[in-house]
Symmetry: C2
Subunit: 115 residues, 2 copies
Amino acid sequence: MQRPFLHPPAEAIRLESVLYALADPVRLEIVRRLVTGDCPLNCSTAAPAHLPKSTQSHHFQILREAGLIQSERRGTEVVNSLRLDEIEAKFPGVVAAILKAAKPLKCPDAEKSGS
Amino acid sequence: MQRPFLHPPAEAIRLESVLYALADPVRLEIVRRLVTGDCPLNCSTAAPAHLPKSTQSHHFQILREAGLIQSERRGTEVVNSLRLDEIEAKFPGVVAAILKAAKPLKCPDAEKSGS
DNA sequence: TCAATAGTTCGATAATCTTGAACTACGGGA
DNA sequence: TCCCGTAGTTCAAGATTATCGAACTATTGA
């Protein structure tokens, strides 16, 4: 068994880790996609498609360890969801303000939904 | 002349850089001290005292390049001030929420103001 | 001019990020 | 049940970045 996902309890979530996780354009985009909910939540679809799988996995690990997302194996894929309530309870307004200020990432994903 | 300080114009300030700058406990503490204004604003007093000067300088450079602070030589010391208005205009509520959520850094600075 | 103070720059080591390659886990046939 | 395809993880190596002592620069004051 691949070691199960490690999720920090709410008390252990640190502001610095949350900020660090969101300080990367790719991870910020992942969180943005998860919160808008306009796409399935597995890793491949939530991450920019042009990235290697290993890099995607690394970013999800950081988001997980920061306490921003929760990952759960569902069949062959991993379903990710945001832990917005817990983060909001600990750091009111932080993630909301960041997401409001975040612009969609410009990347080779650009599908038909042109700007 | 030591090359003068580089400050990005407001338009060039990126959310990711701001978050990255604030994701470090030391830098978050520096910003916290600058905003409470309960101490002079030069580098040595704004940074945790136990840190080597070179490390302090590095942190101030990152804060500067992120657009969070403005540095100006005043005699033999460097005076730092926050660019809160510009950041607030670009990313409303972000820094305010972060500062509200930030706890004072526990460090060997601990003066008589015991917890 | 000399010494002291406040920061910066340099150089080396350590830690972290990125990515290809190999591996693990699960589901679907035949 | 065995084999294959899909979805992610883990490993290893090179590239970035952080930390900190040592040397350097800038400014003030005696």
